[in-house]
Subunit: 284 residues, 2 copies
């Protein structure tokens, strides 16, 4: 089923070139990134097959994930058998990512903001200065589950093609359009121009999320206007210091997630989940 | 302000004894655990000062976090100055935990289930077979924010006193009672006997969380009965494989969080956050 010879030399130039894609400079130069593990590879092939350049697979994984290999071949993606040692060398040394014998090289997924806005999105998540790849991936996965139409990472955020970020999206990276590299003020201006209400999520917010949800519930029966019933972009700040005042000031409203216990704050994933799922409910 | 000599030998028996508390056997033997970093130490002193046995602090941290040292002294907690090397040796080698010059030794925080149930809780989070300390900590923090009255970790779950778990609760570990070590069937039986509805969160659930929330919204105005308006215990499963059928069968209902996009599943923190915040809204 697989064509070509098995790659067996972990120190070959080809293996080194793949491994270098763990780093941002090589990704930008090549315009490609690593997609590791069955879940991510499966979703890449399902939703973005045209962007998948190459699949590397061990013998054991080719048997265990035969349907993934078949999907790659059906999409005319070259499939190259490799030894375990080669796959490990390609995957680099981040112990948080276990490729389980499957690794794809894929064209970068980010799309221009204009393209996203042209599709008239109703729910967008904006990550401003999110630095931890695991956190960014978690929010992308939550945004997907909440039915967001796009995710935007500002220029000061982690690279969405970072292997740990890719991994923690659990395939969601390929489910919805992702925009990167736009400065927050430009992004907010464009979102507003596209008729989205821009809501900054921050513990210092004057608007309580529960009040917005109440307004939306009432509007469902009365037909009154309600902010959360319309198109909304949520802006989430850095995991440690949140949104600086200058960033909050860009938003139409600053919204706080209610904290009922003694917790001083919410972590980024928790706050984003509550806000995005509130929007999902309001948009029903 | 600080009494006693500065501990300067990272290889002393005293330092080694503290460092060993990173491991579960030493914690169980000593009945004590490590609380690292300003946020966790501050919350321990604020909510559980009687359980704090000892505070170790570097000179730099004693200046930077003078109010924490003052709180310890006010609570009659012995405060011992240590060198940076000693603090690093005590904290062990988990790079995910940065004590920032402050480390407390604290008596174990878990309480008996009977004690929790006697307080007639209205919202309880149950972690069944959650194995990753970071995930467990994240759910405890989210449960605190959602106003949960207690968190219960079954016998097959990670040790809540694990340094990485403590760290990721961001102090919430000291804000609400935590029960550990109870087998899931026993926990469910006790929760039901205490008149809590036991809801298992699982993608395979027949009940949609949005329907339960709709029922609760209607009940707010009509006074009709609604499951989420009453006392509820949510059961969350393992981060990788969820809840096995036998565990789901223990619950009164199996509830699925709606997934609107293409995501196949939610991660544990996201699912728990949506469920617990749904309960918080329904309980208003």
């Amino acid at each position: 089923m697989l064509s070509g010879e098995t790659l067996a030399n972990p120190r070959s130039d080809r293996v080194k070139a793949v491994a270098r894609l763990s780093g941002r400079p090589a990704r930008l130069r090549a315009g490609r990134f690593l997609v590791e593990g069955p879940q991510s590879v499966r979703e890449a092939l399902r939703f973005r097959a045209a962007d998948v350049v190459q699949l590397y697979v061990t013998e054991a994984a080719a048997q265990r994930y035969a349907e993934i290999v078949a999907a790659a071949l059906a999409a005319d993606v070259p499939v190259t058998p490799v030894t375990e040692a080669v796959l490990a060398a390609m995957a680099g040394d981040d112990a948080t990512v276990n490729p389980q014998g499957l690794l794809a090289v894929c064209g970068l997924v980010d799309v221009p903001l204009d393209e996203v806005l042209a599709a008239r999105p109703r729910l967008v998540a904006v990550l401003a200065q999110v630095r931890d790849p695991g956190n960014a991936g978690t929010v992308i996965r939550a945004a997907d589950a909440a039915g967001a139409d796009a995710v935007l990472l500002t220029d000061a955020s982690v690279d969405v093609h970072n292997p740990k970020c890719v991994r923690s999206t659990a395939g969601s990276l390929f489910h919805l359009p992702v925009v990167t590299g736009v400065p927050l003020p430009d992004a907010v201006a464009a979102l507003k121009a596209a008729d989205l209400a821009v809501l900054a999520a921050d513990g210092a917010g004057r608007t309580d999320l529960d009040d917005l949800l109440d307004e939306a519930e009432t509007a469902r029966t009365t037909g009154a206007p309600a902010l959360l019933r319309g198109p909304v972009a949520w802006v989430f700040g850095n995991e440690a210091w949140g949104l600086p005042p200058a960033d909050r000031a860009l938003a139409d409203q600053v919204v706080r997630v209610p904290v009922h216990g003694h917790a001083e704050s919410l972590n980024l994933g928790t706050a984003a989940t509550v806000c995005l799922y509130a929007s999902a409910r309001a948009h029903r």
